[in-house]
């Protein structure tokens, strides 16, 4: 395994953590991270952890295994957030970086299967009342299913809402928006989270939400000390066990 050293500075992290939940810092300008030892983390874990420290929403479309199978051990690198992302992705070279509406997106651009999900376009997506991100994500999934299956009458059930998902997002209303646009909008509005999408099943009809994407909630305060969670679908058989459902420290 190719190992690189990173110095992850938390010099500014504590300062950034004191920002309000919706504060935004331009991703490319965030200086990062010193003196954090990284041992055996996957690029996916490390990207989420750095986004958390930098308070920078991020979206990651998982497709090629390198992003969740490579292991990085590092120390001694000082870099801005975007520079660090580039350095991390040296271990997952199939992935590229883009930025959309202030959200750094990482994806394998030629992955058609992923694009079939993330580029799914809604003629109109809207929510009708302020809701937390979890609930908006459920509405996104419901709209996807309503679109994929015209016979479907609706959706609903019981949502377990993470305790740190307590920001009510203003109602959404967008026309000709992709699913990726909505996910980016959710994490951008919420300001304290990332999205991770998984290689979607085929067909998409009735695929549960958590097999399509996860919202990852950043740590915020002493009471919300967990970065939670990624639930890879079962078909990613080689997804590291120690990363599944992991609550990053």
């Amino acid at each position: 395994m190719k190992k690189r050293l990173f110095l992850l500075a938390i010099v500014f992290a504590s300062m950034l953590r004191s920002h309000s939940a919706v504060s935004q810092v331009p991703a490319s300008e965030v200086p990062l991270l010193t003196d954090v030892d990284v041992r055996g983390k996957t690029p996916l874990e490390l990207l989420l952890e750095m986004a958390d420290i930098a308070r920078t929403p991020i979206g990651i479309a998982v497709s090629k295994p390198s992003i969740y199978t490579q292991r990085i051990s590092s120390k001694g690198l000082k870099c801005s957030f975007i520079d660090c992302v580039h350095r991390i992705l040296l271990d997952a070279p199939e992935y590229s970086i883009s930025e959309s509406h202030g959200v750094v997106n990482i994806a394998v651009s030629a992955d058609m299967l992923n694009n079939s999900l993330l580029n799914f376009t809604f003629s109109r997506f809207r929510t009708f009342a302020p809701s937390n991100a979890t609930r908006v994500s459920a509405d996104l999934w419901g709209n996807l299913q309503l679109s994929l299956n015209p016979k479907r009458t609706g959706y609903g059930g019981v949502l377990r809402v993470p305790s740190n998902d307590d920001v009510k997002l203003a109602p959404f209303d967008g026309r000709d928006v992709t699913l990726r646009d909505v996910l980016n909008s959710i994490v951008h509005k919420q300001g304290q989270m990332a999205w991770v999408s998984w290689p979607p099943p085929d067909p998409l009809v009735d695929a549960p939400e958590y097999e399509l994407w996860n919202l990852v909630y950043f740590r915020r305060s002493a009471d919300h000390t967990k970065l939670c969670c990624v639930y890879p679908p079962p078909k990613l058989a080689n997804f590291p066990e120690d990363t599944k459902g992991r609550l990053l420290p």
């Binding site: 419901g142 609706g154 609903g156």
Partner: protein, 775 residues
């Protein structure tokens, strides 16, 4: 008789104690009521008798003359302060009462002069009464000091306990001398009694004299002589002591045929050796209280003895009170190794019927080890009695060591100690069995410090613990790692074994300036009396581990005859018991090791860990209650509802209720689990009816819904949030005002920390909202 219902007599017991409800003897009503002054230990006399006290122990003789002074030593082996009442009786009928308290694990030295409170008396007797309602922890010894020579000499007089249940016979030995012994005989009973005094000489027919003793009367007799037999005044007493005769050892028996008699006696014999005068004590024992034919002498200096800078030779004296010839075998054992002593190879002496004899073992000045002796006789227990006087070769130093019954039912010794520049204290304890024995040694002081060590003695090994060294040492911690405070200079030392009949001990007390030796040999009984068990935690969650610990306590107790008496004033914690653990309720013992155990909670509810400890004849039980918290249901602590509105792609109607919940336990009233970071999982299943197609969307069945709980809003902890929502065209009628009576049902099975929450939530959806188990 009521006062003896749980007391047997041990003439060398020294324990103050008895049964309660007894009134002080009638003589006490004439007492002088004089306070000893402003010592904090002494209390003013309570007004008037009768007063409720215990049965006494008695010193039949004290002397306060030009050449004799007397001192009472009291010891409290309990942890608590204990009360005592001392009654000093003078020949002219006075009784002077002193009430005092003695701090726990402490000793008290009381000059007789202070107890006389100004009353002039050259001799008399004294009684000590303990008044603890659960038994006595006090022991005592009277020390008569002879000041007539350049070097003082101590005469040790053990306090004796009268009894009506035994033979009313006392036996003692007057050591070999060319003078006749003088004996003080006390009748402790309330009725007059006729007493016979018989002397066993080395040869010839035993001589018997008789005298009448009134109630609570003490008389002095010139034992073993013809008329005048009774000594009526102090001058005659000293003259009597000087009466010359042929040098010989004499056995003395004091007896009465009156079943109501309660006799005690103490005697003195004057010796003239190499120009030195000294007195030896005659301590009397009730032969029926001896359970064996073995006398034990622990830690006898033979040869050079450094603390006294002199070479000692023990002289053993024996008297055979039976009508048949008896044989005595003496065996010595080296203190450190327990090996048979070469300088005291087994010796045998044959004693004709009703005769007395003695022999000495010459100490080697080049040898300095203590030797412990076992003297074994033929015949019945009590037929042959023995005494040991350890004598210096220069004739100016000697001390009497009182032999102990090898089979006494008492298992402990309680002694006062003093250790400072002037005084040297040495504890000895001899394992007179062929197996290793554990001895607990505890050294205390009323003002602080309690040193306890459990020591295993090899067969026939003798423990020698120098208290002065122990106080000065920085590397002799006790079993709990504690050192004795260096500023202590006196207190109480207790030693005990779990079982009696194993170990015999005593305390040497040596005055450094004039090398006077005292021996404290008082016995008592220490029993296992209590166990306290506790659990950590006392309230824990199902699946967690509990640690149970127990602490045992030993108590001093009055010996209760054949029945066990496992209570009394608390003396100490300790070790040495055997333990058995059981648990009842919702957990199982996973491991136990004597005083502690571990158990895992396997279910919810109340449980108990029970521990039983056993030592000798005493068994104690303790229990530690435990509450095992198990999740039973979820509890809504807050909720918000968003009413019916358009949702989805605009073609549906939806609503939502957010429930803020905690998992609660099985206690009454139920208590919430407040730990954060515990995974609360769920499995949702659809049920019927399903008029609103609820559950057609997310997260039916098992899914990754096990977010860990976390604080919701301070100070709420352990909160998790469920959003019940539905967005479905089936609800459109509700928005339009229809749909009444329609219902959808989901079942929610929760888990808390991986443990099933047994109450399954029934979630209902109607047009007007959501309920969880009707809430």
């Amino acid at each position: 008789m009521k006062k003896f219902r749980r007391l047997l007599m041990f003439s060398a017991l020294c324990v103050v104690g008895g049964v309660h409800g007894q009134q002080l003897p009638q003589g006490a009503t004439q007492s002088h009521q004089i306070d000893l002054g402003n010592s904090a230990l002494f209390h003013g006399e309570s007004s008037g008798y009768p007063m409720v006290v215990d049965a006494p122990v008695v010193a039949p003789l004290f002397l306060e003359t030009e050449h004799f002074t007397s001192t009472l030593h009291l010891v409290n082996s309990a942890s608590s302060t204990e009360p005592a009442t001392i009654v000093v009786r003078t020949p002219d009928g006075n009784s002077i009462t002193t009430k005092l308290t003695l701090p726990g694990h402490d000793s008290l030295t009381l000059p007789l002069k202070s107890l006389l409170k100004g009353v002039v008396a050259s001799r008399g007797s004294l009684e000590v009464y303990a008044t603890d309602p659960i038994g006595s922890s006090l022991t005592g010894q009277l020390e008569i000091t002879y000041n007539g020579e350049e070097r003082r000499a101590a005469i040790d007089e053990e306090l004796l306990m009268p009894s009506m249940t035994t033979s009313h016979t006392l036996r003692g030995i007057s050591l070999e001398s060319d003078t006749l012994p003088v004996v003080a005989i006390s009748n402790v009973a309330n009725t007059p009694v006729l007493v016979n005094v018989t002397c066993n000489r080395s040869a010839g027919t035993p001589l018997t004299n008789s005298l009448q003793l009134g109630r609570h009367d003490t008389k002095f007799v010139r034992a073993c002589s013809g008329a005048p037999f009774e000594v009526t005044d102090d001058t005659a007493l000293l003259q009597a002591l000087d009466t010359s005769k042929a040098s010989e050892t004499i056995g003395i028996q004091i007896s009465s045929e009156d079943p109501k008699s309660e006799l005690q006696a103490f005697g003195l014999t004057l010796h003239n050796v190499l120009g030195h005068r000294y007195f030896s004590a005659i301590n009397f024992n009730d032969p029926k209280e001896w359970n064996s034919t073995q006398s034990i002498y622990a830690g006898v200096p033979v040869g050079y003895f450094q603390p006294l800078a002199n070479t000692f030779s023990p002289r053993f004296s024996f008297s055979n009170f039976s009508n048949q010839s008896q044989t005595v075998t003496l065996q010595g054992y080296k203190a450190k190794s327990g090996e048979p002593s070469e300088s005291a190879a087994a010796r045998t002496i044959v004693l004709p019927a009703n005769s007395s004899s003695s022999f000495a073992i010459v100490g080697d000045p080049n040898s300095s080890e203590l030797i412990s002796y076992v003297a074994t006789s033929t015949g019945m227990a009590g037929d042959v009695i023995a005494a040991l006087m350890d004598e210096s070769g220069t004739g100016d130093n000697r001390f009497l060591i009182i032999g102990k019954d090898a089979s006494t039912v008492l298992n402990a010794g309680m002694h006062p100690w003093t250790a400072d520049k002037e005084n040297h204290g040495i504890l000895v304890a001899f394992n007179h069995t062929s197996k290793p024995q554990d001895v607990t040694v505890q050294i205390g002081n009323g003002t602080g410090g309690l040193w306890q060590r459990r020591i295993t003695l090899k067969p026939y090994q003798t423990l020698t613990q120098d208290l002065n060294e122990l106080l000065l040492s920085s590397d002799q911690p006790d079993d709990r790692g504690n050192l004795l405070p260096k500023n202590l200079d006196h207190g109480e030392v207790t030693w005990w074994t779990n079982d009696s009949r194993r170990v015999t001990g005593r305390l040497f007390q040596i005055s450094n300036s004039d090398r006077m030796v005292k021996n404290f040999s008082c016995y008592g009984q220490i029993v296992l009396c209590q166990i306290l068990a506790s659990a950590t935690p006392s309230v824990g969650n199902v699946g967690s581990s509990f640690h149970f610990t127990s602490t045992i306590s030993y108590c001093t107790t009055n010996y209760g005859g054949s029945s066990s008496q496992c209570y009394g004033p608390n003396a100490s914690g300790g070790a040495g018991a055997t333990y058995h653990w059981n648990t009842y309720g919702a957990f199982q013992v996973t491991s136990s090791s004597n005083y502690d155990a571990y158990a895992n909670a396997v279910g919810g509810g109340n449980g108990t860990a029970q521990v039983q400890a056993q030592s000798a004849q005493c068994t104690v039980n303790g229990q530690a209650p435990v509450t095992v918290r198990a999740p039973t249901r979820s509890q809504i602590i807050n909720s918000t509802y968003t009413g019916l509105q358009v949702c989805g792609n605009g073609q549906q109607t939806g609503h939502e209720r957010d429930l803020y919940e905690q998992i609660v336990d099985n206690q009454n009233p139920a208590q919430p689990f407040l730990a954060d970071g515990v995974t609360v999982g769920e499995v949702i299943t659809k049920s019927s009816p399903d008029d609103f197609a609820w559950g057609s969307g997310t997260k039916t069945g098992s899914g990754p819904t096990a977010y860990k709980n976390a604080p919701n809003s301070s100070p709420q902890h352990g909160v998790f949030t469920d959003a019940l929502y539905n967005c479905d065209a089936a609800l459109n009628a509700c928005l339009a005002g229809g749909g009444g009576g329609k219902l959808s049902v989901l079942n929610q099975q929760l888990t808390y920390g991986g443990v099933n929450v047994p109450t399954i939530n029934s979630l209902h959806e109607t047009c007007t909202g959501f309920t969880n188990n009707g809430n």
